[in-house]
């Protein structure tokens, strides 16, 4: 065992990369939940994004087109969820589960001929001199562009929810759809847009996994990342800045356990691999234990079916 092989600088730098897929998916789900919709299909949308992005990048040779297709793929899958829950008024929990099951099957089917292929490399920031500064360089200035894109997105969502009228309407719809409807806001339209945004983000998160983090396509490669993203939204009590914190925390755990595995710590590999899931549970417990605080931020209409009766 050689723990000194683990460099803190590299650890921080790589946790940012490791956290990006979850961060993207979680910030999308945050917007969905703020509009009062609980979409448990994040895992399914993520993996659909992973394969559509991967396939598009391999076929065109352009990672950018890959990311675009990943977002479209995730959004397309989320449209199914949007239609069934918003027009057919189905139970959101069950429909989200169906979305995950369907997405896992669909992606495995689409991905058959892509197993074992290496995707084109994504764009990496490489500023001469700046990127070479010790410690700060690797942490701040030499990542794949998805890392910066995700950070920008988080900032954008934070600003949108806090300062724009659209954000206010979105929060209002998630707070009480009846009141929003009475004031003349289009509840269903707002929610469908939010669901599609969430789908696109989850798709991007999937592509960040298959094109940048791994980078490879394997069946079921998200391995619960979508569910962890859902947990992070709860952990963050629906606040964008805390989503960032949560995602980086989990990224840190994931990277640390990989590093420990590589360093040959005497804990069996399987138990190290469990750790991100166990820590998710622990964090969920800690968050729900002081319920009264986080409940204030939870959208009051979360998961409730809206039907304008008269």
């Amino acid at each position: 065992m050689d723990l000194s092989a683990i460099s803190p600088t590299l650890l921080v730098a790589s946790l940012m990369v490791a956290a990006t897929p979850i961060l993207l998916a979680a910030i999308g789900e945050l917007v969905v939940e703020k509009s009062g919709v609980l979409n448990l299909g994040v895992e399914g949308m993520m993996i659909t994004g992973a394969i559509s992005g991967f396939a598009a990048a391999v076929l065109t040779g352009s990672p950018m087109i890959g990311f675009l297709c990943a977002a479209l793929g995730g959004a397309a899958l989320s449209v199914i969820f949007a239609i069934i829950t918003q027009y057919f008024l189905s139970n959101q929990v069950a429909t989200g589960l169906a979305l995950t099951l369907f997405g896992l099957g669909l992606s495995a089917m689409l991905g058959q001929s892509y197993v074992g292929i290496k995707p084109p490399a994504s764009v990496k920031l490489d500023l001469p001199l700046v990127s070479d500064i010790p410690v700060i360089g690797p942490i701040l200035f030499s990542h794949d562009f998805t890392v910066y894109a995700a950070l920008t997105l988080v900032t954008g969502v934070w600003w949108f929810l806090k300062y724009t009228r659209g954000g206010l309407i979105l929060r209002a719809v998630g707070e009480s759809h009846d009141a929003a409807h009475a004031l003349g806001y289009k509840v269903v339209r707002v929610r469908i847009l939010a669901i599609m945004f969430g789908g696109a983000c989850a798709g991007l998160g999937g592509a960040a996994l298959s094109l940048v983090r791994v980078p490879q396509w394997t069946e079921g490669m998200t391995a619960g990342a979508g569910w962890i993203a859902l947990a992070i939204v709860v952990f963050a009590s629906w606040k964008p800045a805390r989503v960032l914190l949560g995602a980086y925390l989990f990224g840190g755990v994931a990277v640390l356990q990989l590093n420990l595995q590589a360093a040959g710590v005497s804990i069996p590999v399987e138990y190290l691999s469990m750790s991100p899931y166990l820590i998710t549970i622990v964090v969920l417990v800690v968050m729900s234990a002081n319920r009264s605080k986080s409940a204030l931020n939870a959208p009051a209409a979360l998961g409730r079916v809206f039907h304008a009766s008269r």
Binding site: A172, A179, L183, G184, Y185, S292, L296, A300, R310
Partner: protein
């Protein structure tokens, strides 16, 4: 002033099985307070929803200030100068006052400017409000101010108010009327929806009365007696419930030092509640919703446990017993929310009979349920309380409000309670059903049971209670015989003034 502002001509709207509005026509003049009077289900809310653009009429037309007016959505109505203060469902608890107001405006100013405007307007009309507070922390009266100011900021030509006083204390009503008269003086028209006759006679110069979706009359309410108005509204003479002379028996229920912390983020706490209830007594507990009514009922029914001694039935401490144990001992309850609390919406009436009658009617033997007996009991409730429904297999949600309420009250009354607690027993119920329910409660008390009626409707409490106490921010005033109290005193009690507290 007699310039017509809104002209309504032949508005008709039908829903499957019911014509909500049938060829309704009338005029609202500029600067007039116009009452829209009618029972629950007379079609008042459908009519105003059409004016506000939430519902489109099947036939008919409207003109606003001489121009054709057919708003496709509330936004269009607001743009044309129509604003509405809702009875429910239009505020967002987790958002601030300023955010709530911004949501009701088409083009709200920047947040600083908006806050300044809110403060300015609220002071001009005597309705003080802090723009930064969360609506969830406000009282019912303050919430209504938010709605009114939201409307006033748009400088409307027509302000629609849907049952605005149902959540206010008599003193708050006076303040509201002052504001409305001031608006009228400034030339704003007000469409005032209510079923409270005295209020309308005090405030309005014109009244349009709806019954069964049709316009019955337009008249000057100041020139009619309350009785005449009531008869036009109901279309016949009304039976009011009659109390027989009863003498109070010994104390059955004793509540002392009953306190409860808030159960949710915006919940109310109960503070040191104490009262005694005698056989044959009907204790009316008045107060504006949100002052601890639901919490008090939950403590008495057993949904929320308290310290054992806080509630005693004939000397037995009940406070930490489960609902079914209390039922076995004779304490029954009917909560306010009919669908989703007193009854499960998608379950049949038989299943809903099982819901509370399992213990007292012996519907369960060693855990196995006796459905035929439950069905028989449901049928008994249906027939004795004149519940209009195809039968006990119907889902609770298929019943009208009044019928379901009769079922819910009947289900408890027929179990022969020693103490019955009801919360808002006639809220949203048509007048005939309300009279039946009140009579049933009176009869129950005559037979020697003790009844607690929690209600916002002061007329109701004055009609049936033998004693009265007011609930204000979780405190209960000392119970006093109803006959000793004047309306003014009651108003002061509701506002929280209680020498004994």
């Amino acid at each position: 002033m007699s310039k017509s502002l809104l002209h309504i001509n032949g508005l008709t709207k039908a829903y499957p099985g019911v014509v909500a509005n049938d060829d309704v026509s009338f005029n609202i003049d500029a600067g007039e307070i116009h009452a829209l009077l009618g029972e629950n289900g007379a079609g008042k809310s459908t009519l105003v929803k059409m004016i506000y653009g939430l519902v489109r009429p099947d036939h008919g037309a409207m003109q606003l200030a001489g121009k054709n007016f057919s708003p496709a959505e509330p936004r269009a109505a607001r743009a044309a100068g129509v604003a509405m203060v809702f009875q429910h469902f239009s505020l967002f608890e987790a958002l601030s006052v300023a955010e709530n107001i911004a949501l009701g405006m088409e083009t709200p100013p920047k947040s600083n400017a908006l806050s300044a405007r809110i403060t300015e307007v609220s002071q001009a009309y005597g309705l003080p409000l802090d723009p930064e507070r969360l609506v969830g922390d406000l009282s019912a009266g303050e919430r209504q101010r938010v709605e009114i100011i939201r409307c006033l900021l748009q400088e409307p030509k027509l302000l629609i108010m849907d049952e605005p006083t149902s959540v206010l204390t008599p003193q708050e009503v006076t303040t509201l009327f002052t504001t409305l008269r001031k608006l009228k003086a400034e030339g704003t028209s007000i469409l005032y929806i209510s079923h409270k006759l005295e209020e309308i006679r005090a405030l309005c110069e014109t009244a349009t009365i709806l019954r069964g979706g049709k316009k019955v009359a337009t008249c000057d309410p100041r020139k009619k007696s309350a009785r005449e108005l009531a008869e036009m509204m109901v279309g016949g003479t009304l039976n009011s419930a009659k109390a027989k002379k009863t003498t109070l028996g010994e104390v059955v229920l004793k509540v002392s030092e009953l306190s409860l912390p808030p159960q949710s983020a915006f919940g109310t706490s109960l503070k040191n509640i104490a009262f005694q209830l005698h056989k044959g007594e009907i204790l009316g507990i008045g107060g504006v919703a949100g002052n601890g009514q639901d919490e008090l009922l939950a403590c008495l029914s057993g949904e929320v446990k308290t310290t054992g001694d806080a509630i005693q039935l004939n000397g037995v401490s009940l406070g930490n017993m489960l609902p079914n144990v209390r039922r076995a001992l004779g304490v029954l309850a009917a909560p306010e929310e009919r669908l989703g609390h007193a009854a499960a919406p998608d379950m049949s009436l038989t299943e809903n009979a099982m819901l509370t009658a399992m213990t007292r009617q012996n519907l369960s033997k060693s855990g196995f349920l006796d459905w035929p007996r439950a069905k028989a009991f449901a049928e008994q409730v249906i027939s004795q309380f004149d519940v209009r429904t195809p039968g006990p297999q119907s889902a609770a949600r298929s019943l009208s409000g009044g019928n379901l309420q009769k079922f819910v009250i009947g289900r408890e009354v027929l179990q022969d309670p020693e103490v019955l607690i009801v919360n808002q027993p006639t809220w949203g119920v048509d007048a005939a059903a309300a009279a039946d329910i009140r009579q049933a409660l009176l009869d129950l008390a005559t037979k020697g049971a003790a009844v607690i009626v929690i209600s916002q409707d002061l007329d109701e409490l004055m009609e049936i209670s033998t004693s009265f106490a007011a609930l204000n921010t979780g405190r209960l005033s000392t119970a006093r015989p109803m006959a000793e109290l004047s309306l003014d005193e009651i108003g002061l009690l509701l506002g929280g003034a209680d020498a004994a507290a």
